[in-house]
Amino acid sequence: MRYSKNKIALVDCNSFYVSCERLFNPSIIRKPVIVLSSNDGCVISRSTEAKALDIKMGEPYFKVEKIVKKNDVKVFSSNYSLYGDISRRVMKTLKQFSPRIEIYSIDEAFLDLSSIKNEDLLECGNKIRKTVLKWTGIPTSIGIAVTKTLSKAANYVAKKEKSGIVNLINSKQIDEILSKININNVWGVGPQLTKFYIKNGIKTAYQLKNMHNSWIKKNTNVFGSRTVMELKGIPCTSLEIYQEKRKNCCVSRSFGRKVTKLEELDESITTHCLNAAEKIRSDNQTTKRITVFIRTSPFQKDKNYYANSKDIDLPIKTNDSIELVRQALIALRYIYREGYKYQKTGIILSKLNDSNIYKENLFSSINNEEKRKKLMKAIDYTNIKYGRQALSIAQAGLKKKWNIKKQHSSKIDTACFDFLPVVRIS
């Protein structure tokens, strides 16, 4: 059968953000380390030692602060420019082993190893792990199987193995391994589906694999049956080698401190719009809808919680920063309420389309479209050449008092000349 020739490896970086921080800071090797989300809000990466202290993924920082102090856990703010650069290095290294690679997230990639002989797969996987570790300093785990879903499952088990690698191709232990994986840890099974499956007595990946096709088809959607087929070893999704264009673009940020004034919310929403507009322009896309959302902290006890959002359907597709800012600020006025301490704002551009299908529109509020397109081009060019936000619009504010708080940042950036790592001579 054709499909049995598929060999897919899922390479996943272990505690990726923590591993990046350890790369230039050997004093935190073998110690409990955590990395916090963009506003020092929640725990988003944990070293093995930190996991052993029962610090949970996604937990708010203030809830684990006691454990942190008691056990001298090293805490870092997220340093995305560093993680981004290290991620690119990892992916480039992986490409040496197979040109057919799907970069799935900042720390995971599917690799097509179909050209490798079955008996050489383990050796190849070990070589990949060794090379990535030596070249980039990042430890990885690898799962190899005939479908993406099975390679995810293999990887899940590999993370707990000392060898860091599990190969399910022609393996007699497939069922034994699948029966050890809880249903909620199966790729593609979200919280809703988990609840539904458990209600129906399906608790492990093995049980799901053995469900009858007709039952799955009747009770779940096309994605549900895909997952089951893939667990049975029948590939339903191929590698997405060419990254698909995004369909949504979301930019959001938490404030460094609580914000109450409308003017400050204006500044942050404007900045989000500029970033999002620049992103979609770089992909030659336009948007048809803009959503603005704001909320207070869900963890503060003294004040009432408030969260709201507003969609605006744009009269014509656009990627014009000025038009998007104008619409977003109108939307903000619908949902802004005085007297709340806001903690987060964001915007979502949705219904994205290719921008060359640009039609003249009677209702457009942008006069002189050609001129404005040229202006946007000039802004993008200047900002690429002279750095982000060299050219902006005044509405975005100059001081940005509300900007991100990063109390524990390592401030190292391997891709920026001014923040290179430092070594001593002794």
């Binding site: 050997p26 290095r89 030596k134 070249w135 790592p421 001593r424």
Partner: protein, 130 residues
């Protein structure tokens, strides 16, 4: 696909053509010359004292390739006492050492199989501002 074509700058003149126009080359790309293996090469700045014996000074930039294995007398970045430092790698019959470039016996750090002390990468170039 991007196709790069040579760009001829001189006008077509009536006189003797410049023999140099036949050798159109790109500008020198220092990145390509100094960085052999992109994903494994890091730029690292030196801080503190100088290592005069090998010509590394405070503020210099080091080009460090992690993919290389150190040879005898390679300049390396190593993890010593939980810190990244510049050292010289010495290989003897069946043992390897790190030194700071002096001949003093106490300057030798034994590179055993212990995971506490290890070579982080090999320095391939130093860039020094004058």
């Amino acid at each position: 696909m991007k196709v790069l074509l040579p760009f001829h700058l001189n006008k077509v003149g009536a006189g003797f053509p410049s023999p140099a126009t036949d050798c159109v080359e790109d500008d020198i790309d220092l990145n390509a010359c100094l960085i052999k293996n992109v994903p494994s090469t890091f730029l690292i700045r030196v801080q503190g004292k100088s290592m005069n014996s090998i010509g590394i000074h405070d503020g210099d930039l080091l080009v460090v390739d992690r993919s290389l294995n150190p040879k005898n007398f390679s300049t390396v970045i190593a993890n010593v006492n939980e810190e990244l430092v510049v050292k010289t790698f010495i290989k003897e019959k069946d043992q390897s050492f790190l030194t700071s470039g002096s001949n003093r016996a106490e300057d030798k750090i034994n590179l055993t199989e212990s995971s506490e002390i290890f070579v982080w990468g090999v320095v391939t170039y130093t860039i020094h501002a004058l």
